[in-house]
């Protein structure tokens, strides 16, 4: 099967096939496959320990899966560790704990990838970085250091940092889980704008309101496998498994259904 050509024709940006990952004796991922088309948002949900974060890390090879293949725009990512930096540039990643570079102010956090990886000259990198900060509403905080920013601002800087690389797809690993409740909204808003703007996104989150209103598809992972997947409408109203309904009910209780 010529996946490369097929993916190109169908607008598939990212294809993940039969990913297996084991830590010690613990099989975290037991064969996960999905694909995402240009401009789509997929939300991955599941209990903690179900393998959601590991799956995201396998996509840009921060974690190397034992088995399975990954394609980005028809090019195989897996088994090409020599060129992995080229793929990583095109896969933006946002972490739960922000992971900003603490010794650099906001704008330098955003521009460092452009300078170190894309070898851009400093002036051009600064312009792009400022533009990305403007996009997440933090132009005025450009010269502040991470320790001087709120959690929500830090996460927005980290989104800007990933966006500056002009990625093909963005991965979000529980981007609001480390935030105070009143700071979650500003981050979700930025993500919503991104999705509306046509960014291709894979988001691991417990924010059901966001999933309901933004996702094209929701994937429910349980025990290292995809248990259920489909449109938000299907998963919220008519899931294939009782377990999916239970999980969504629990999350709704915990985090509230309030979000539109």
């Amino acid at each position: 099967m010529n996946l490369e050509k097929a993916d190109h024709d169908n607008g598939v940006v990212l294809r993940v096939e039969d990913i297996h990952k084991t830590y010690g004796k613990n099989e975290i991922l037991k064969g996960v496959s999905f694909h995402i088309k240009k401009g789509e948002t997929i939300v991955i949900i599941g209990a903690s320990g179900s393998g959601k974060s590991t799956l995201l890390r396998c996509i840009n090879q921060l974690t190397i899966p034992e088995k399975g293949r990954i394609w980005l725009e028809g090019e195989e990512v897996t088994h090409h560790m020599k060129e992995i930096s080229h793929f990583r540039q095109r896969i933006g990643m946002v972490f739960q704990d922000f992971n900003l570079f603490d010794h650099l102010c906001a704008v330098r956090n955003v521009e460092i990838g452009l300078i170190k990886v894309k070898k851009m000259d400093k002036k051009q990198a600064r312009e792009i970085a400022m533009e990305e900060l403007r996009r997440v509403g933090l132009e005025r905080q450009a010269n502040q250091y991470p320790a001087q920013l709120s959690g929500g601002q830090k996460q927005r800087v980290s989104i800007a940092r990933a966006l500056a690389m002009n990625p093909t797809v963005m991965l979000f690993d529980e981007p609001t889980s480390a935030l105070d409740p009143e700071l979650i909204g500003e981050v979700l808003e930025v993500m919503r704008d991104l999705a509306m703007g046509g960014m291709t996104m894979v988001v691991v989150t417990h924010e059901m309101g966001f999933a309901r209103s933004v996702a094209n598809e929701i994937i429910f992972i349980e025990g290292g496998k995809i248990l259920d997947q489909g449109t938000p409408h299907k998963l919220f109203t008519n899931p294939e498994h009782e377990r999916t309904r239970q999980f969504i009910c629990k999350i709704d209780e915990l985090y509230g259904k309030t979000e539109k």
Partner: protein, 225 residues
């Protein structure tokens, strides 16, 4: 009696001060060598494979495990001669003190690197930044800042250890003091002056490092309370 002592002190000061230059040279050289070796050792221990980090552990174990004087004699009277190295006393002392300091400094830097946590490294790698580039431009700038208090400790210890170079006849402060003391039979005032010289050097260096720490502090981080 008192007048004679004052005269003696007065006359010996220029002689002792030339020792001060030697002491500063010893400490500066050894700290520098320890820094140049200690940084890659720390990086190797944290990020290297098990062979590299194992080798470095053995090095650290050896140089931390023996008294300074034993190491100094072992190298000066033993290894340097065995390998036909014709090194001066000063160079020998700088080398040995530097090799010892590298062992201690590597552990200061290793602790700092580990305290930064792997999240920033993951973020750097996910941007496509190469690992060694991330170590140099993201991990080290932070680790070095965190290392300053520990490093200031190493400076104070090394400064005092440098007096051991007396044992192989390096003309540093203590050697000169001993020289004057045996010639004049007046050990107290002379050793008193050399004590003051050491105290000023310790205090001054630690103070300078504290200023440096303040100057390079990351805004918003560890605010003075």
């Amino acid at each position: 009696m008192v007048g004679k002592n004052i005269l003696l002190i007065y006359q010996s000061i220029p002689f002792l001060l030339r020792g001060l230059v030697v002491t500063i040279g010893l400490v500066g050289g050894a700290l520098g060598l320890g820094f140049i070796l200690g940084i890659p050792m720390a990086i190797g221990q944290v990020y290297g494979n098990k062979y590299i980090s194992g080798l470095i552990s053995i090095y650290v174990w050896f140089f931390r495990g023996l008294p300074v004087l034993v190491l100094l004699f072992l190298f000066y009277f033993g290894l340097f001669i065995l390998f036909n190295l014709n090194l001066s006393e000063f160079t020998s002392a700088v080398l040995v003190l530097g090799l010892i300091s590298a062992a201690y400094q590597s552990q200061i830097f290793r602790g700092s690197i580990k305290s930064i946590g792997e999240g920033q490294m993951l973020a750097a790698i996910s941007l496509g930044i190469k690992k060694y580039d991330a170590i140099l431009s993201i991990i080290l700038p932070q680790a070095l800042r965190i290392s300053i208090p520990g490093w200031s400790n190493e400076y104070a210890i090394l400064l005092k250890d440098s007096a051991i170079a007396y044992a192989i006849g390096v003309m540093e402060v203590l050697t000169r003091a001993q020289f004057v003391a045996t010639r004049t039979y007046k050990p107290l005032p002379i050793f008193f002056i050399s004590a003051i010289i050491f105290i000023i050097l310790t205090y001054g260096g630690v103070k300078l490092l504290a200023l440096l720490e303040k100057k390079v502090r990351i805004p918003g981080y560890g605010e003075e309370r």
